[in-house]
């Protein structure tokens, strides 16, 4: 794997509806010194992705694989170490976010919104829910559009299933976790974003509440024409919401493809491990596929070549010396592995 390459990106000439294109994204954090040498966490290493309008891209992987770091790099929180994040490539509204800073960046920020994992930490405990949801409009408002804003906030609150009357006076801690997540969704949707990034939006919720939020996201996507980037460690959830899925491991992409193709014909050994490890393993893999070592290498000193090779049952010398590059194995199905199952 976990490999690099851009073969899986769609040709902008053939697809004019790509709304987000990420090229060679790298995110590194300083990790102190060891033996007098400056150490670096290679959180995301050369990841390229694209998303078409109205599509949901699922990014799945274990903790430390860099999926959340990728999400945050997309919205420039913080900006990536290198790489390009292009909104509306090829269109008149094209904008490359990494190059922007200051007020230019602030001005494009509303086009990409995000929902976080922790519903309670996502909302300011000292403000009323209506204030929270209306904040984005208030930031960009002119004095004249007060009433209009009010109506917009109420409409979106209504759409996510929160009573606007109640929202006017209550603070976040008076709502349950699921309701707080609805409020977060409303805050993002009010800005009419092109892309909504959901970072583990249901992981902190009770099982019986998850489906409500997942269904709500689908409804909001329909109603407001959103494009979703959905990040989760839960393969079942990702399958349910995604049109296209990207599997990440230790800062690299393993496999990208149409959701059904990827789940039905997993080509990368790591994808197979994930599918076989689920509490109820996917029927398309052998349960014994899950039998690999537990130790994930440190992102400070990732393995050479393919980063998955230290745990991979199929690894050979070639995997250590040569990093696999994304290549096509199916219609819309790409894998970065020297020995994929096809």
């Amino acid at each position: 794997m976990a490999g690099s390459g851009t073969d899986h990106l769609r040709d902008p000439a053939a697809h004019d509806d790509v709304v987000l294109r990420v090229e060679h994204l790298v995110q590194e954090f300083p990790a102190g010194r060891s033996g007098g040498r400056r150490q670096v966490v290679h959180a995301v290493s050369d990841v390229s992705l694209d998303v078409r309008r109205g599509e949901t891209l699922g990014i799945v992987g274990e903790s430390g694989c860099g999926k959340s770091t990728t999400a945050r790099a997309l919205v420039q929180l913080p900006p990536p170490t290198s790489g390009r994040v292009v909104l509306d490539p090829g269109a008149a509204t094209e904008v490359e976010m990494v190059a922007l800073s200051g007020s230019a960046l602030r001005a494009v920020r509303p086009r990409m919104q995000m929902i976080f994992q922790d519903p309670i930490s996502s909302l300011n405990p000292r403000r009323s829910v209506r204030d929270i949801v209306g904040e984005g409009l208030a930031i960009w408002s002119k004095a004249s559009d007060g009433l209009h804003q009010q109506a917009r906030v109420d409409e979106v609150l209504e759409a996510v299933g929160i009573d606007p009357e109640v929202a006017a006076t209550r603070r976040p801690h008076q709502f349950s976790g699921g309701q707080c997540q609805r409020i977060s969704i409303a805050r993002a949707v009010v800005m009419d974003p092109e892309i909504l990034i959901c970072d583990e939006p249901v992981s902190a919720l009770d099982v019986s509440v998850q489906a409500q939020i997942l269904n709500l996201l689908e409804d909001m996507k329909e109603r407001y024409g959103l494009t979703l980037v959905f990040i989760s460690h839960d393969l079942s959830v990702v399958r349910n919401v995604s049109d296209r899925v990207a599997v990440m491991y230790l800062g690299k992409l393993c496999e990208v493809g149409d959701a059904d193709a990827l789940y039905e014909r997993p080509a990368h050994p790591y994808t197979r491990v994930l599918l076989a490890s689920a509490p109820e393993p996917a029927p398309t893999v052998d349960p014994s596929d899950a039998d690999i070592g537990d130790e994930i290498p440190s992102p400070i000193d990732p393995p050479s070549g393919c980063r998955f090779r230290t745990r991979c049952p199929r690894a050979t010398d070639r995997c250590a010396s040569e990093e696999p590059v994304m290549r096509q194995v199916g219609d819309d199905h790409f894998v970065a592995c020297h020995f994929p199952s096809i």
Partner: protein
């Protein structure tokens, strides 16, 4: 349970109730929970936050804080646990009855070496010498599948990954040869690829040592292949209990059914519409005198709000059919829901 040996169950819980005294008045976290666990079997307790599953486990482990009021009886191997607790019997919990928590760091001392920590259990409870204890600790680490166990003995908890830490905690829980191991969400904090290994390990160990196990989880899927019996809890009460195949084959309670239907399936095509359960789990402060699930239930009838439905045996065969009852299958629902999921009341 149906396979109870002549000697009776290892653990028998009767009418367990736990009430917390809080600033806002008493809160009933567990209400009228009863179950038996036979030697060598695994009981899965499934529930969401606030279902009372963890409080039940803590009541068994004598870990509840002083402001918790416990009622009912807990008998373990013929001994009354609550009497033992009152007598401050030290060598019982941690020896015959041990627990593995969700977060391994709650059970590990961050400033002590792994080896010392395991050896300490053995020395304190079983009076082993330092040398013997260390040798046994090494064996235990090896048994729970920790690579390079000799090196790990001298390491501190923070030097290990989450999965390895949980293995160390399991080794500690096994050290004194418990007859019952309670695992409270042992894999929730771990990565997907590690979860399965830990669950498999627990299962192997249980079989090998003829222990009993209580596996507490929020995920019905975890329980499916691993528990012999399942008890589904909600709002502090037992909703349904049965042998695992029976439960998954002939689910009776609307909550169990809803819980299974609401989870996205890994083998269903993308964008399959999920069946949500409206509302949210009840906070323990709200538990009243009706079926706790009534407010969210599709099949609710007026009678559901009138008193707490008792846990009664479920008739075998078609819903509502007269005659045989499955002695191991109980459900606390007065509405009888057909296998097609529709109520016929």
């Amino acid at each position: 349970m149906s396979t109870a040996s002549a000697a009776g169950p290892l653990l028998s819980v009767q009418d367990l109730g736990v009430t917390f005294g809080t600033a806002d008045g008493p809160v009933r976290a567990v209400d009228g929970v009863s179950f038996d666990l036979t030697e060598g079997r695994t009981l899965g307790i499934v529930g969401e936050s606030g279902s009372g599953k963890s409080v039940t486990a803590k009541a068994l482990m004598n870990l509840l804080p002083s402001y918790a009021e416990v009622e009912g009886s807990i008998t373990f191997g013929g001994r009354d646990l609550r009497a033992l607790a009152a007598a401050r019997e030290r060598h019982f919990w941690g020896v015959e009855l041990t627990m593995v928590f969700q977060d391994p760091m709650t059970s590990l001392n961050p400033v002590k070496r792994i080896g010392e920590q395991i050896a300490e259990c053995l020395r304190v409870h079983l009076g082993r010498s330092r040398k013997v204890a260390t040798a046994e600790a090494l064996d235990l680490l090896e048994r729970v599948g920790i690579p390079e166990p000799r090196k790990r003995l001298r390491q501190y908890p923070h030097e290990l990954s989450g999965g390895l830490r949980q293995r160390v905690v399991i080794a500690m829980a096994l050290a004194c040869g418990p007859r019952l191991l309670i695992a409270d969400e042992p894999t929730t904090a771990l990565d997907v690829t590690v979860q399965k290994h830990i669950l498999d390990l627990l299962d192997d160990l249980r079989r090998e040592r003829a222990m009993s196990m209580i596996l507490i989880t929020h995920d019905l899927g975890v329980v499916k292949g691993r528990a012999d019996d399942v008890m589904v809890m909600y709002g502090g009460r037992t909703m349904e209990s049965a042998e695992t195949p029976t439960l998954f084959g002939r689910m009776h309670h609307p909550y169990t059914r809803a819980l299974l239907e609401t989870i996205p399936r890994i083998d269903a095509p993308a964008h399959t519409r999920l069946v949500p359960i409206p509302g949210r789990p009840p906070s323990p402060a709200e538990v009243g005198r009706s079926c706790p699930f009534a407010a969210r239930c599709r099949h609710r009838i007026d009678d559901c709000l009138d008193g707490v439905p008792p846990l009664v045996p479920v008739p075998v065969g078609a819903a509502g059919a007269e005659g045989a009852e499955d002695a191991s299958h109980h459900s606390a629902c007065i509405v009888s829901v057909g296998s097609d999921g529709r109520g016929d009341s």
